[in-house]
Amino acid sequence: VSDRTLHPLSALSGIAVPGRYGKEEGEPSVVITELTGLGLATVACRKGQASALSAAVRKA
């Protein structure tokens, strides 16, 4: 196989189409831009480790 690497695709691909929408002149009504480079994480702690988690999050 030539290129084995998998390239990520946003879940919004094909759904949120970036661009300018609404009236054609003047200030646009809506501009859609996908923000990348942001991460969302669910962090759950083990039993009795709530304070340790809070400390870790604060440190991060």
Binding site: V1, R4, T5, L6, H7, P8, L9, S10, A11, S13, G14, I15, T42, A44, C45, R46, K47, G48
Partner: protein
């Protein structure tokens, strides 16, 4: 029809409620209806002014609509049955004239909207000037301005609104600016009330929503219901959605007249909002039709769409049903996809299965309690099929669970039950056993997962999984599970699971790589004859293998019914264990899972058909079970089915009737074991 309603039809909706109209009113505002009707092209045949003296507004409206004006007159009779045919107008001299018409626009003036104030225990008072109830002592923190206060004229509305606004601003610590006076005049004079037409003929309705007539109010008074609250209960006057909006003032006036009391002393009911009807669609919003709820798209959706897949709703998801090729009928496509899995290799997006990450030192104990079978003994790097019961002993869900680390399990559920199972597990962890060290989170949408099934599945996966991982049968046997990397160090998970009964793997990657992975699998699989298969083929494959699914996991079956009784541990407690042992649930005559095949191999089977002894009459007494799932098996060349049959396992070889009165089906079927393909399970272990 109320004059204001006529104006709404004409001005807002552009609809003429009639072709020949008579306007009958006692107030200036209503006469605008005549002008508006005339402007819209509706003929106004008479303008009947019940006020005490000629009104300049009414005269102006009569001129604008070129209608004869009758000051001080009343309509004494309306003709018509299903619709209005004409009216009899009696003028001040007592002379009656008849007019043909098909619309009467009438008005007794406006009522202030006091409902919000009375809902909060404010008591309205009677205004003699307006002949209407107006707010009196207000609930704390409430101000009323404009028409709701009884200020119907524009000048009064502006002044009242300004005063209320200034008071509110002051209350918030601001200094109100001096007002800019506007030069406006009031458009109309208060009404000269007419509560009912004296010597009117026929039934006189007061409440148009509840069909309460003057005669009903008089009867109520005779029966002793002389207080508005009692009158309301006796006659339904002012009940329901309009909350007396149009009827209560008139009703109170009639009651006052009948009982010889001052109108202001009669009292009121408690008006409550809302009295303006709200369309159901306003509550439903856009949640209708295909927008009833947002469809969840599988990671391979875009790619599947490019392949021309036909989609189907499964739970909240859209899944590929099949992938027709040019000129293929749906059944041909499904047959081809199934045959390709059995002979070569197929790929199916199984990301929609519920996926739950369960971690903690007590994770194994926790799963032992929620599953009928045991998971604490499952070796790390292994997966096991499990069945979960409800408290009442019936099957809740099934799926495979893999142990990735000593304290880390990866639970899968059926697509449809994903949320239900997650809620169940959370309830168990948080409420039933809070002492356990176990945490869980749904990761259904975090992982894209593909089943790669068929004799060439390993060939395909070897080109996907990085070579540092040995996925041979020896190193990674049936029911093995583990973390791997794929396509050059993309993190992934690999499971040796098979729903089809063939050599199969399920490979998972973070969802954002799902699109790339399906493309890569198909690219490298081309050399091995890979073809995608949809949920229809998935269903055929599992019916050929005799695996229970939606048709059998129907909330009414036990593990024993489904042939899964041996999975239930006798060495531990688990949810549903006790109730599953109830006599009715272990009765051997319960309908139990069987396979079915037509005696005449050309016959088609239908899900839902009843199973009757061969030759027996089609009666409820002879009904011994039913067909739960059907499929045309391209592997065997005929239709197959699964069903639930009384004493099923003891009846293999018996010929029965599959009777389907709904679609006119009546075929002979042979009862057989559920598994039709490779019952020893050799293919999936190679």
């Amino acid at each position: 029809m109320l004059a204001s309603a006529v104006r709404t039809y004409v001005n807002r909706f552009g609809v003429a409620p009639g072709r020949r109209a008579v306007v009958f009113a006692d107030n200036d505002d209503a006469f605008r209806t005549a002008s508006d009707l005339a402007h819209a092209g509706v003929e106004v045949v008479a303008l009947v002014d019940a006020g005490h003296g000629p009104s300049r507004h009414a005269q102006a409206a009569a001129e604008a609509s070129r209608a004869p004006y009758f000051p001080g007159a009343v309509i004494e009779r309306v003709r018509g049955g299903q619709g209005i045919k004409g009216v009899a107008i009696r003028d001040t001299s007592g002379v009656t004239q008849h007019f043909d018409c098909d619309l009467v626009a009438m008005s007794g003036g406006w009522n202030p909207s006091v409902h919000l104030t009375t809902h909060l225990n404010g008591k309205p008072k009677w205004s003699e000037r307006l002949s209407a109830l107006v707010p009196d002592a207000l609930p704390p923190g409430m101000s009323v301005a404009g028409a709701a206060q009884g200020d119907f004229g524009l000048a009064a509305c502006l002044a009242g609104g300004e005063a209320a606004g200034a008071e509110a601003a002051q209350g918030c610590g601001f200094t109100p600016k001096p007002s800019t006076r506007r030069d406006v005049s009031d458009e109309s004079e208060p009404a000269s009330p007419i509560w009912q037409v004296a010597k009117g003929r026929g039934k006189a309705f007061v409440d148009f929503q509840n069909d309460v007539a003057v005669s009903d109010i008089k009867l109520a008074a005779r029966e002793g219901f002389r207080i508005p609250e009692h009158l309301k209960r006796y006659t339904t006057l002012g009940m329901a959605t309009d909350q007396g909006k149009t009827a209560n003032a008139n009703g109170a006036a009639v009651l006052a007249g009948v009982t010889g009391r001052y109108l202001g002393a009669v009292g009121t009911t408690t008006f409550r909002p809302p009295f303006t009807p709200v369309a159901i669609s306003a509550f439903a919003g856009h949640h209708r039709g295909p927008d009833f709820r947002p469809a969840r798209l599988a990671p391979s959706h875009q790619w599947a769409k490019e392949q021309g897949a036909v989609f189907v709703e499964t739970g909240p998801w859209l899944r590929a049903l099949y992938y027709p090729r040019r000129g293929e009928e749906p059944q041909d496509a499904v047959n081809r996809e199934v045959a390709n899995v059995r002979s070569h290799v197929g790929v199916c997006d199984v990301s929609t299965l519920g996926k739950i990450d369960v971690q903690g030192s007590d994770a194994g104990v926790f799963l032992d309690r929620v599953y009928g079978n045991t998971f604490s003994t499952l070796a790390v790097g292994k997966a096991r099929y499990g069945v979960m019961l409800r408290e009442d002993g019936f099957v809740l869900d099934d799926g495979t669970t893999a142990r990735l680390k000593q304290d880390h399990y990866y639970v899968t559920t059926t697509t449809v039950n994903a949320v239900k199972v997650m809620q169940h597990l959370e309830f168990c962890a948080q409420v039933l056993w809070p002492e356990l060290d176990v945490q869980m989170v749904s990761v259904t949408e975090q992982w894209a997962q593909y089943a790669v099934a068929g004799p060439r599945a390993r060939d395909v996966l070897q080109a996907i999984v990085d070579p540092t991982y040995d996925i041979s049968n020896e190193a990674f046997p049936y029911l093995a599970a583990g973390e791997v990397t794929v396509c050059g160090r993309t993190p992934g998970r690999l499971f040796r699971l098979s729903f089809s009964g063939e050599l199969a793997y399920e490979v998972a990657v973070p969802a954002r790589f799902g699109d790339a992975l399906i493309r890569k699998i198909v690219e490298v699989g081309a050399a091995y004859g890979i073809a995608p298969y949809g949920t229809e083929a998935l269903g055929v494959l599992r019916i050929e293998k005799g695996h229970p699914a939606g048709g059998e996991l129907n909330g009414q079956t036990t593990a024993h019914d489904l042939g899964l009784g041996k999975l239930l541990s006798t060495k531990k407690d688990f949810i549903g264990r006790f109730m599953a042992a109830r006599p009715a649930l272990i009765d051997s005559s319960r309908p139990t899972l069987v396979g079915l095949r037509p005696v005449n191999r050309e016959d088609r089977l239908r899900a839902g058909a009843h199973l009757l002894p061969n030759g027996a009459e089609a009666t409820a007494a002879n009904d011994q079970g039913y067909v739960t799932s059907i499929a045309f098996s391209p592997s065997l060349g005929h239709w197959l089915a699964l069903g639930l049959l009384t004493n099923g396992p003891e009846r293999h070889g018996e010929i029965m009737r599959a009777y389907d009165p709904v679609r006119g089906g009546d075929v002979e079927v042979e009862i057989c074991p559920p598994c039709h393909i490779d019952p020893e399970g050799n293919r999936l272990r190679v």
